[in-house]
């Protein structure tokens, strides 16, 4: 039967193929339409970001093992996708993350301790979303997508799109995983973004797994094709290539800010660690597969490139190592200092204005707690 055919996958190099600017071996290659001609300092800054972000991840994982965190969702292997896209943002842009975008948080100037608050369980997140243009972590898969579109529609309404003023024009990045693309709300968000031509970049980190489900459980065709179905261009990028991720996200954000509309970016990467510290990947994937991807390590790849180019040297690396140690030390000390929530704190944030039942419950609970103080001195519960 004759029908509009499903386009065949495209290879790297050719238009629509996977954008790659650094080979796994760290060799610089070209891709039509994408430049990343950065100054040495810029390149070193990206390298520093990736190294420190990985260090945060290592440290947090250790802190969870020591019982200082209740849980940790690692980003090991996804540093390039997160730092590349995070650094492509401008100050006025906004990101709507999942629960794994620690690297983006870093790029947005969020104190890693703010992120640790959530995983330690002292709060749902310790940063100011507005100040950082970095919204609360979203644990309900894909629930951040539609609000991200709405926020982008708001920027559009404010006239903060297409003015040509680089400090005014605003775009939004919505992060999601490969598994998240299966949620109806993810598709709905793409469609709304298309209909309203919203200044949105959907940054999908296809790290090959949704806990134990390989991406083949979610889809039969490459994820970025989904976007084409609603008229949103889809771009495939090597998610372990920080230069490509930076270039592709920059181009997509520029397009969005200029009024060109939404773009869907699929960053092919790999979750090198467990889904979270409660997960045991050995139950569902082979060590061989992990090794295969370790050979494409985003940090090592970029390091090799910088070394070959003579931009990075032993001295730099030593300094960076030291900076990492300091940061790690600060996290270890800081996490233990994170204020424990008091019994009445939770009553403060559910509503902006008083709610009779909440007030009643709070007062009753406060009075109840007081009985212990009284009786503590009086000795035991009456």
């Amino acid at each position: 039967m004759s029908e509009s055919p499903v386009p065949a996958p495209r290879g790297p190099g050719e238009p629509g193929g996977m954008v790659q600017l650094l080979t796994p071996e760290g060799r610089r290659v070209e891709h039509p339409g994408y430049e990343a001609d950065l100054e040495p300092e810029e390149l070193l800054a990206l390298h520093r970001d990736m190294v420190l972000v990985r260090r945060i991840d290592t440290e947090a994982t250790a802190l969870q093992r020591q019982g200082e965190l209740g849980l940790w969702a690692g980003l090991l292997g996804q540093e390039a996708a997160q730092v590349g896209s995070g650094r492509a943002m401008r100050p006025q842009d906004h990101a709507f993350p999942t629960y794994r975008e620690h690297g983006v948080a870093w790029c947005r100037g969020v104190d890693p301790l703010g992120v640790l608050e959530l995983y330690r369980g002292t709060s749902h997140g310790g940063w100011d979303p507005v100040a950082h243009g970095f919204h609360p972590y979203t644990l309900v898969i894909a629930a951040q997508m539609l609000p991200a579109v709405g926020y982008a529609m708001g920027a559009q309404r404010d006239g903060a799109v297409g003015t040509g003023d680089p400090d005014r024009d605003t775009a939004v990045i919505a992060y999601l995983g490969d598994g998240a693309t299966s949620q109806g709300e993810a598709s709905e968000a793409l469609q709304w973004a298309a209909v309203y031509n919203a200044p949105l970049v959907v940054l999908c980190q296809n790290n090959q797994w949704a806990i134990s489900a390989p991406v083949s459980v979610q889809a039969r065709v490459p994820l970025h094709r989904r976007a084409e179905g609603v008229g949103v261009p889809g771009v495939l990028v090597d998610g372990n290539d920080v230069l490509a991720c930076l270039a592709v996200t920059r181009a997509a954000l520029d397009r969005a800010r200029s009024g060109g509309g939404p773009t869907f970016v699929e960053a092919l990467t790999y979750r090198m660690g467990a889904h979270t510290t409660s997960d045991d990947p050995s139950r569902y994937r082979s060590a061989a597969e992990v090794d295969l991807w370790r050979a494409k390590d985003p940090v090592e790849r970029f390091r090799r490139y910088l070394l070959d180019e003579g931009i990075l040297d032993a001295e730099h690396e030593a300094a960076l190592e030291a900076e990492g140690d300091e940061l790690a030390e600060r996290l270890r000390a800081g996490v233990r200092e994170l204020p424990e929530p008091g019994p009445l704190d939770m009553f403060d944030h559910a509503y902006a204005e008083p709610h009779a039942q909440v007030a009643e419950e709070r007062d009753a609970f406060a009075a109840y707690l007081a009985t212990f103080e009284d009786t503590a001195t009086a000795g035991g519960k009456s």
Binding site: M145, V149, G150, D348, H349, Y351, A352, A356
Partner: protein, 327 residues
């Protein structure tokens, strides 16, 4: 004082909000040129433009989800859900994001979003058009839930809901849209009854009848009928479901010693249970009879020609009143 139907009063309230605050915008299906299936937004797109009265794609999750994002950007979206039964595609956004984002951000984010949901039955409609889902919203912390029963309240409460920094589910009694009433549009905001206060709709002595939305008129009709037999019923128009104004009801019950709660929603798990439980606790020693509840049955809303049997009516209310008085 102006006399207008409830639907028009909401329209006037929306108009006032759109005029007062440029950050207010209306979103929904068919609310523009058509003016909504109940004509509640009639004429507003013409006067405020497609930018502020937005015909959206046919997707409730999208309506509520993007409204959340717009609110985060500083807007005050008022979303229309076309009928009660169509709110469920948006339920995830309501429960997961709308209700919780403030708490999740430790109060750093505000969500001034209003969800307008026509509810209740009695208009002979097909399925999914006549349900009363208030209990499902009342149990979700972070939301406020209110419903007007008079034109005056409709006009003011919708504006108060829009002015609220918290998300508000604004339930509109479908079959009362055409009920006329006096609206005092000249009131100073300070003189308007606060959003979360119940109202004594009719004073009485022998038994208290608590109702909200569409059943308030029913309660008043029952009170009128009972008066003929010498029974004096006090009718409380709850107006607010979350929070509940238990004080006003308790004060009434302390006088009458009896309470009957009426709503269209199924009694089982309905908001009447929460009110009954609180009154039974607060008024334990003044209650002379068990709190009785009259409402829908624990059944999916029936076909139109059976709704007269499903919905509480004056006789069923009076039957409960009699049982309460007989206890």
């Amino acid at each position: 004082m102006q006399t207008m139907p409830i639907g028009r009063a909401i329209n006037a309230g929306l108009r006032a909000a759109l005029e007062r605050d440029p950050s207010v915008l209306l979103m929904g299906e068919d609310i523009g040129a058509l003016g909504g299936v109940f004509r509640v937004t009639e004429g507003l797109q013409k006067d405020f433009g497609e930018g502020r009265v937005v015909d959206t794609p046919l997707a409730e999750a999208g309506i509520v989800g993007t409204a959340i994002g717009l609110a985060l950007r500083g807007y005050r979206p008022v979303c229309e859900i076309q009928f009660n039964g169509f709110v469920y595609p948006a339920f995830n956004q309501v429960v997961t994001q709308l209700a919780k984002l403030r708490a999740r951000s430790r109060g750093r984010l505000a969500l001034p979003v209003v969800l307008r949901v026509p509810f209740g039955g009695g208009i002979g409609s097909v399925e999914h058009h006549s349900e009363s889902p208030e209990a499902l919203f009342a149990h979700v912390s972070g939301l406020r839930v209110v419903t007007p029963a008079s034109a005056h309240d409709a006009y003011w409460m919708v504006q108060q809901a829009i002015a609220s920094p918290d998300p508000v589910v604004f339930l509109e009694p479908e079959r009362r849209y055409w009920d006329k009433g006096e609206v005092d549009t000249a009131l100073a905001p300070a003189d308007v009854t606060p959003l979360h206060r119940a109202r004594i709709a009719r004073a009485g002595e022998h038994v208290t009848l608590a109702a909200h939305g569409p059943t308030v008129r029913l309660a008043l009709e029952a009170a009128e009928a009972a008066a003929a037999d010498g029974t004096s019923i006090e009718v409380v128009d709850l107006r607010t479901i979350s929070p509940l104004d238990v004080d006003t009801v308790a004060a009434s019950v302390q006088r009458t010693g009896r309470l009957v709660v009426v709503h269209e929603a199924p009694v089982f798990g309905g908001t009447g249970g929460e009110l009954a439980a609180r009154i039974a606790e607060r008024c334990f020693y003044s209650l002379q009879a068990p709190v009785l509840r009259v409402g829908g049955f624990h059944l999916p809303y029936p076909a139109a020609r059976a709704e007269e049997h499903y919905l509480p009516d004056v006789d069923r209310v009076l039957d409960a009143v009699d049982r309460s008085l007989a206890a």
